[in-house]
């Protein structure tokens, strides 16, 4: 589904991604771990098409299509979803209104009519139940005054509504207490299917107890320095990142 080839990206002349190679197949869950400043969030932003980052070499290919020329919204229409580490506030715009607009804009891009209000309502009901979201929450202004947990749950709710092909969860576990973490992870697990894929970006192993990855990659200094199965995450938890940093230097 997703193929990243020798991806280099920079911001204001500072190279952050220095040759990333990654392949994610439908039905798979990949975890990307690594210390602060390794380039994890940058990788997520570049896949989503944030213009602040300049891709200098390599490419991102989704279902055989090179995304290079696509704007962030076009990538979204093709099924890329990014759960933000720091979701922004949009005062006066309710969660429902926002999600409705997002869904209908994607439909419009595909040449479809707006989703009938009845279907929209049904979908909202279904997905909010799935994520144990109180429906009163949906009429609040997007992320305004939300707790950390509410913000992240709202991200996953949007993901559930938009049903993306490729979901990238950027530090979704940060700022979550254990109960919120469980709900969010349950949501992600329920939304997983053989047709979609998930990339989980995280600092800690904790989230991976709930969302079990098929592969784990360690990102350090703009490169994937080690890949393995879920056991790698446990090893990292035990030994810390220094172990890998040293290993990279040695190799």
């Amino acid at each position: 589904m997703l193929k990243i080839n020798n991806l280099h990206a920079q911001v204001e002349d500072k190279e952050i991604l220095k040759g990333i190679n990654l392949e994610v197949k439908a039905g798979e869950v990949h975890a990307i771990m690594g210390p602060n400043g390794a380039g994890k969030s940058t990788l997520a932003s570049v896949i989503a098409g944030k213009e602040e980052f300049e891709v200098t070499k390599g490419d991102v290919v989704l279902d055989g299509e090179n995304l290079e020329e696509d704007s962030p919204e076009e990538r979204a229409h093709k099924g890329v979803f990014l759960s933000f580490q720091y979701p922004v506030e949009i005062p006066g715009v309710s969660v429902t209104n926002f999600v409705k607009t997002a869904i209908n804009e994607s439909r419009k891009a595909r040449g479809e009519e707006d989703m009938p209000a009845k279907d929209m309502l049904k979908l909202i009901r279904e997905k909010s139940d799935l994520l144990e979201i109180d429906r009163k929450f949906l009429s609040r202004s997007l992320n305004e005054g939300f707790s950390g947990g509410e913000k992240k749950r709202n991200e996953i709710f949007q993901m559930a509504m938009l049903e993306p092909k490729l979901a990238i969860l950027d530090e979704t576990d940060s700022g979550l207490d254990i109960d919120a973490l469980r709900i969010v992870a349950n949501g992600v697990n329920k939304l997983k299917s053989k047709d979609n894929a998930v990339i989980v970006i995280t600092h800690y192993q904790r989230l991976l107890d709930y969302i079990v990855p098929d592969y784990v990659h360690v990102l350090h200094n703009g490169k994937i320095v080690k890949s393995g199965t879920k056991e790698l995450a446990l090893e990292l938890e035990e030994k810390g990142y220094d172990w890998l940093k040293n290993e990279t230097i040695e190799s």
């Binding site: 098409g49 962030p72 229409h77 005062p91 209104n97 607009t101 997002a102 202004s141």
Partner: protein, 481 residues
């Protein structure tokens, strides 16, 4: 290809003013210039009684001695009052005829404006008076309203048919001496709407006036007078558009509202006069005096959505004379390109337990300047007066300005006055977040701005709210940076 901000900017700059068409209708236009003879001629054209002619002449003499005000935070080339024609009427208009007799070109123009003057409006419960240039050309539902004793007609007709009411109230809220433009309007006003709601009557439909400047080189000076008798209620809407022209056209209106004991007036405006082009050429100068008087337990609520005009100078105000009376002001003012707006309100608390609320949302984009100017005045006898003001500004790009000038004068110790103000910018992060969810930049801006303006949009009658939202989408999108 990614849609960049630059492209958006370009697209918006080249986006044309949707209402910029000019309808070629033969019109009867006075020579340019202003003197006592012109004032007399306007009065004669309207077949006015002598008292009205004298009233106008008195106003003209006052105006001659006045200076154009300079205190507003706007810069513009002062209009040459001798280069304006003070009367222009579409030749075929005759307010006494039925709609079937209306010039098809005029009807076509209404269609372009999106106003249906026919039965469709009945379903929406809106009675419309349409003023093109200087005369009122069609008033719908006069009969339906008449059954309830409601008078809704062009002011020129009211002067003929209800002189006692006009004489009693006109100029009592905005006197001829009030300010430069009010004096000018008093001398040369050509048409506008008159509305009287009898005692105890709740007006069953929204009353609406649509103003349109069509002819070039003319000014529009309409005068609106709304009187809500005791325990009555009326909701009144006005909309405005003008063709795109290189010259600056002058619009100097006066609106007077009178809410007698226990009455309520809701007055909503969607102002979309031509704002000028992206280089700041042309556009309407909108210099308007709007004021209302509340007697005991009365309420006046002003709601405005201001997206048009090159220069706006406007402060819809409430004189809270009666005890327990209420004044409200809800405003969205949008400026883009080189537009300048200096707008706000005055809440004058005279009676006991009077309350006022001010919610102002200013949105600036391009190289525009947007100012809120408001006065809250609590007089010495106004025991337990309360005011709450909230002024929020939203900026787009780095070249525009938002300014707030709140004035508070409290002469009674029991007054409670609250003022809140915020300034924010549409951030790239907000735009990217929307983009990532599949919402393009233009739509994202509309969404963010609509959210920002929601408290005010909610105050508009349903039908107008939809139109206002569309207008916001068209006119406020600017650069994001």
């Amino acid at each position: 290809m990614a849609y960049t901000e630059e492209e958006l900017k370009k697209e918006l700059e080249t986006q044309e003013y949707e209402y910029g068409f000019y309808t070629d209708i033969e019109s009867d236009t006075f020579p340019k210039g202003l003197n006592e003879d012109i004032v007399r001629a306007i009065s004669k054209k309207k077949n006015e009684p002598e008292w009205m002619t004298d009233w106008r002449l008195d106003a003209f003499r006052i105006w001659e001695k006045m200076e154009e005000p300079e205190w507003a935070n706007v810069n513009y080339e002062k209009p040459d009052f001798q280069a304006i024609s003070y009367y222009s009427a579409p030749k075929k208009a005759d307010p006494n005829k039925s709609l079937d007799d209306v010039d098809p070109d005029l009807l076509e123009m209404y269609r372009k404006l999106g106003i249906s003057v026919d039965e469709q409006k009945k379903l929406q419960n809106v009675a419309v008076d349409i003023v093109v240039d200087s005369v009122s050309v069609a008033t719908t539902f006069k009969e339906t309203l008449a059954e309830k004793g409601i008078i809704f007609m062009p002011i020129s007709e009211a002067i003929q048919e209800h002189p006692e009411l006009v004489k009693k109230y006109m100029g009592t809220i905005v006197p001829k001496t009030d300010n430069f433009y009010a004096a000018l309007n008093s001398a040369v006003f050509t048409d506008g709407s008159f509305c009287y709601i009898p005692k105890g009557v709740k007006c069953p439909m929204e009353l609406s006036t649509y103003f349109r400047i069509n002819e070039g080189g003319t000014g529009q000076f309409e005068r609106t007078l709304v009187i809500a008798d005791e325990e009555s209620y009326v909701s009144y809407l006005e909309g405005c558009t003008a063709p795109s022209r290189d010259e600056n056209q002058l619009h100097a209106a006066v609106v007077e509202l009178i809410a007698l004991d226990d009455a309520e007036i809701k007055y909503s405006t969607v102002q979309n006069w031509y704002p000028g082009n992206s280089e700041g050429k042309g556009g309407v100068y909108n210099f308007v005096t709007k004021r209302g008087l509340c007697e005991k337990n009365a309420k006046i609520s002003w709601t405005q959505v201001e997206t048009g005009s090159a220069v706006t100078w406007k402060y819809p105000s409430c004189i809270l004379k009666g005890d327990n009376s209420i004044g409200e002001f809800y405003s969205i003012a949008v400026t883009n390109n080189y537009q300048q707006a200096d707008t706000g309100t005055k809440m004058v608390h005279l009676g006991k337990n009077t309350r006022s609320t001010i919610i102002s949302k200013g949105i600036s984009a391009g190289k525009s300047q947007n100012s809120y100017r408001g006065l809250v005045q609590i007089n010495s006898r106004a025991e337990n007066a309360r005011n709450f003001s909230q002024c929020d500004s939203l900026l787009m790009g780095n070249e525009c300005g938002a300014h707030t000038f709140p004035y508070i004068e409290a002469k009674n110790k029991t007054a409670q006055i609250e003022h809140e103000a915020t300034t924010s910018k549409i951030g790239e992060d907000q735009i990217f977040y929307c983009n990532q969810r599949g919402i393009d930049t233009e739509k994202a801006i509309a969404l963010i701005v609509n959210g920002f303006s929601k408290e005010v949009l909610n105050k508009l009658p349903m039908e107008f709210a939809v139109e206002a939202q569309k207008l916001l989408e068209i006119s406020l999108e600017g650069s994001v940076g």
